[in-house]
């Protein structure tokens, strides 16, 4: 009696705590790698599964009523086969191991690709689906190819917690749906929204504009020795086997553009950020050097390379 009484008090409390934690498993952020063990896989019949249950019941009643043992045996076989397909469905998820992930940079409002690397095991998982924010995306895994890419919807700029992912499968017969939750700990940076209808920068916005001339380039031509390296159109060059250089209407190579937070007045804060973002993007696309001046911060730049581009966008994203 004594031992039971002593053992039961904290034991139950601990058990309840464990139990509630296991219920919450997958819903709280957890560090990678995440392995789906049997305690965190849920499985229920789909609508088709419920339909087949009714059908099997009808077959059973029919076979029993007509006292037909062959039909009963067939019903038992079909029932056992369909019921045990539950185990195959469960197996699709069981032991799935999410090793690592990395998020691409993306702009707010767009779907940002999230690259997932699962542990490579011998089992193919053809029916794996990952849904993020109610969008189900198939990501079949095979031995030797255990990488998958899903997209994440973004609504706000700045650091965003990695999304909660529902990993699910209905293989092999679509009669059961197994699912599990994975919420990787960590954050991804979402760049500010690009203003598609961004008003072109007006003269008075930027005194350098006139000097900088057209930030619209006219055309691409082959690289000639002596061309400034920042005029190389890297993205376009990647599609060819030689370097391409942008030619500008009125080349003002020495003069970087200046995007000044403080010069943009009279607009809402988020619109301001978005406008600066679009300008940065445009300038980067044109491979034209630029300087970003944010409120009470040191100007960033001038430069026109990818690192500068990402530094600027990160700074814009992280603005309070």
């Amino acid at each position: 009696m004594d031992t039971i009484a002593r053992g039961a008090g904290p034991g139950i409390a601990t058990r309840v705590r464990h139990w509630s934690r296991s219920l919450m498993r997958g819903r709280q952020p957890e560090p990678l790698p995440v392995r789906l063990d049997s305690h965190r896989i849920y499985i229920v019949p789909t609508r088709a599964g419920l339909g087949f249950t009714v059908l099997l019941a009808a077959m059973l009643v029919g076979a029993l009523n007509y006292q037909n043992n062959a039909a009963l045996l067939l019903t038992c076989m079909l029932g056992a086969a369909l019921a045990s397909s539950m185990l195959l469905t469960w197996r699709e998820l069981h032991d799935l191991n999410l090793r690592s992930l990395h998020a691409d940079h993306g702009f707010c409002g767009a779907r940002v690709p999230l690259h997932l690397a699962f542990a490579d095991d011998r089992q193919p998982r053809h029916g794996l689906r990952i849904s993020i924010d109610k969008l189900e995306q198939p990501c079949p895994l095979q031995p030797g190819n255990s990488l998958a890419t899903v997209t994440v919807p973004t609504e706000r700029r700045g650091w965003m917690a990695l999304p909660r992912m529902q990993v699910s499968s209905t293989l092999p017969f679509g009669l059961f749906r197994a699912w599990s939750w994975i919420t990787p700990a960590g954050h991804m940076l979402v760049y500010p929204r690009i203003l598609r209808d961004a008003r072109p920068r007006e003269r008075h916005d930027d005194p350098n504009d006139r000097i900088a001339g057209g930030d619209e380039f006219a055309n691409l031509r082959n690289y000639r020795p002596g061309d400034p390296i920042r005029h190389v159109a890297w993205k376009a060059s990647a599609r060819h086997d030689h370097l391409l250089v942008r030619e500008f209407d009125r080349a003002a190579p020495g003069q970087p553009l200046r995007f000044d937070w403080n010069a943009l007045t009279g607009v809402e804060r988020e619109t301001r950020i978005s406008r600066l973002t679009s300008w940065v993007c445009d300038a980067y696309a044109a491979a034209h050097p630029w300087i970003l001046v944010l409120e009470d911060r040191r100007p960033i730049g001038p430069a026109s390379d990818a690192a500068h581009y990402h530094r600027c966008l990160s700074a814009l994203a992280e603005l309070p």
Partner: protein
């Protein structure tokens, strides 16, 4: 990677279009269903449905065209109408099967989404099962079981992850699941409590009933005599009875209405069986009777006790209270040499055995009266006269008997003179009664095929037979087979009276047929004959004398629980380690050899760092190690498909590499 709208659990599944592979598999499944039902549906009907299916497949091949709604509506109306016209009623097993087959094809016609296809597959499984209601032999059960495979493959193909031409791979999960779940299915089969009484209807009515019925009119037996289906199998304890004694008694028919014979009041009156005096040794035997949907249990003439769950009528007929809707197994003892009710007949019985309807068959009556006058009322002499008439009167045995008019006995005796057992038994019994000899008709089986491999007698429906019994003073009821007296047989072999061949000639494959039939017999006894009584005895070895439905239910629940547990355990087992190609194996071998020298690769250490470290630690072999490492890195990471000969060279070099620690 095209995202689609997600469906949270519990919400309506968004219908997605049906791909080519699942559609083809669906067509194959439905074709299987049609094949399973083909034996009992009109050939033209099956052909029409198959043609419709083929047309639909052709129409949807390559392009996703729909069938017009009007056409489908028309078919929906036409199918029941056609079936009703053919069968006269839309109700019953065969019309029902015809209608559901038609509706299944109609479902394929409208299947455009995965949801449609799933419904069609479920429907197809159900209809496949219903095919077994017509024939539950081992062969057809295996066939129908195999026909589940395309249905399951369709379900698999509706799920993602199959290549476009991966139809063979679609079959894999279904086959694996069916094979793996066989033990569980068998346990379920043993433990699912059977129903004592059907929930609805009488399963065996109308066309579904097979075998001998308890009514005999001219031509009734004709369809049976050409039916080679197995009726029962009988294993004898000792030697089988002689061929001449193989008469298996079914029903005794007393009443005649001028055309048909019925069991009548005398047989149904509750009396104890008439006394039988046994003259010779008795025969013990086991009978496995296949479903007949009738009440009669057949026993060698004449049974002397009744088996369990059966009753013996006053005429030594055996009948079960429940219709024989599934295969039954029973054990009886019979006497082949006997005197049945040799003492005086009770007045009422005698009256019933002499009763004839007025106003029929005057010529037969006159003939019988002449015999009676000629023999002075001697029953044995009258019987002899009648048999002589059948033997010498130009009578012929022919299954294609001409139709008879109102005076059926007269027409047969004096005009057509052609018929088979029931004509002869009917006419003979009529003549006996008209001549004042108490007589009655017995229907049952006669003959049979002796399976020499497993020593049992196989009785087919074509062994159905009708004969007579006359009551002679001092000898009791004596069996007389008037058909045996007929000398001219037109269609030999198929009829019961035509010798003991039962349709199987002396072919070379006969021994194999015997062996095959042994399996069928086993199937009939153990599977088809598994009934409530056998089930109740299931737990006798465990000390439970009568397993009630509750006990069976508990056992079933335990089995389901254990099966799921075992399945989960099996499913969680998975091959240890990663899939390794030759390159990785060789690399691991190299690592193991280095580990023996204490150079263990850390879990966070990449291969390049590791080999740099080992090269530094083993200066004597640094060059070789660096070469191996750079070759490995090149093979592993530089190209997607490393050339196999380079891998082979690498493997050989790793095998030859022996790391040696420098002795310090």
């Amino acid at each position: 990677m095209k995202p689609r709208v997600e469906t949270p659990p519990g919400t309506r599944v968004v219908a997605s279009a049906l791909g080519a592979l699942p559609f083809n598999l669906l067509c194959a499944s439905v074709l299987c269903v049609l094949a399973a039902h083909a034996p009992h549906l009109p050939a033209w009907y099956t052909a029409a449905l198959a043609g419709l299916l083929a047309a639909r497949w052709w129409q949807r091949r390559g392009r996703h065209r729909r069938v017009s709604g009007w056409l489908r509506l028309m078919m929906l109306v036409a199918i029941p109408v056609v079936v009703t016209l053919v069968y006269g009623t839309p109700l019953g097993q065969q019309p029902g099967a015809a209608i559901v087959c038609g509706l299944l094809v109609l479902k394929v016609l409208e299947s455009e989404s995965t949801r449609d296809a799933r419904m069609a597959v479920g429907f197809a499984c159900f209809i496949l099962m219903s095919a077994l209601l017509f024939d539950q032999s081992l062969g057809s059960t295996i066939l129908v079981g195999a026909m589940l495979l395309p249905a399951l493959a369709t379900l698999r193909a509706l799920e993602p992850g199959l290549p476009e031409r991966g139809w063979l791979r679609a079959f894999r999960p279904g086959a694996v699941m069916l094979a793996a779940s066989l033990p569980a299915a068998l346990l379920g089969f043993l433990l699912i409590p059977r129903l004592d009484t059907p929930l609805w209807g009488s399963p065996g009515n109308g066309a579904a009933s097979t075998g001998i019925s308890d009514r005999m009119a001219p031509g009734d037996l004709q369809h049976l005599l050409t039916d080679n289906a197995v009726a029962m199998r009988i294993g004898f304890d000792g030697a089988p009875p002689r061929a001449a004694e193989r008469y298996f008694r079914g029903a005794v028919l007393w009443d005649f209405d001028g055309r048909s014979w019925f069991p009548g009041v005398a047989a149904t009156r509750r009396r104890s069986p008439v006394p039988v005096r046994i003259l010779g040794p008795t025969v013990q035997y086991d009978v496995t009777l296949l479903p007949s949907h009738q009440h009669w249990l057949f026993a060698l003439d004449v049974p002397i006790d009744e088996p369990d769950a059966a009753q013996m009528g006053p005429d030594h007929t055996l009948w079960s209270i429940q219709p024989i809707n599934q295969s039954v197994h029973y054990r009886v003892a019979s006497a082949t040499q006997y005197r049945l009710a040799p003492e005086e007949l009770p007045r009422a019985v005698r009256a019933a055995a002499l009763a004839l309807p007025d106003g029929f068959d005057p010529r037969a009556r006159a003939l019988a009266a002449a015999w009676r006058a000629h023999s002075g009322g001697n029953g044995a002499a009258i019987v002899r006269d009648a048999l002589e008439l059948f033997h010498d009167g130009g009578f012929a045995y022919d299954l294609e008997a001409p139709p008879l008019g109102r005076n059926s006995i007269d027409d047969f005796l004096f005009d057509t003179k052609t018929g088979f057992c029931e004509h002869y038994a009917s006419a003979f019994t009529f003549l006996m009664r008209a001549a004042g000899v108490p007589a009655r008709v017995v229907i049952g089986y006669q003959g049979g095929y002796w399976n020499d491999f497993a020593h049992y007698l196989l009785i087919r429906q074509s062994n159905a037979h009708a004969w007579s019994e006359v009551w002679l003073p001092g000898r009791g009821w004596v069996r007389v087979d008037p058909t045996a007296a007929v000398s001219r047989v037109v269609l030999a072999g198929t009829g019961a009276a035509g010798a003991d061949v039962a349709g199987d000639g002396g072919n070379w494959w006969l021994p194999w047929q015997d062996r095959l039939d042994v399996i069928n017999r086993w199937w009939g006894q153990t599977v088809m004959g598994f009934d409530t009584i056998t089930q109740a005895r299931l737990f006798r070895p465990f000390g439970i004398d009568h397993a009630s439905a509750q006990i069976l239910g508990i056992a079933l629940a335990v089995v389901v629980f254990l099966a799921l547990g075992a399945g989960a355990l099996l499913a969680s087992l998975r091959p240890r380690g990663k899939p390794l190609d030759a390159l990785a194996r060789a690399q691991l071998r190299l690592q193991r050899r280095l580990a023996r020298l204490g150079l263990v690769r850390g879990s966070s250490e990449g291969p390049r760092d590791f080999y740099l470290r080992t090269a530094a630690a083993l200066p004597g072999q640094a060059l070789a190690l660096q070469e191996l490492a750079s070759e490995y890195l090149a093979l592993r990471y530089r190209c997607c498909e490393p050339p196999p000969e380079r891998i082979r060279v690498f493997v050989r070099r790793v095998r030859q590499f022996r790391p040696r620690r420098v002795v310090k």
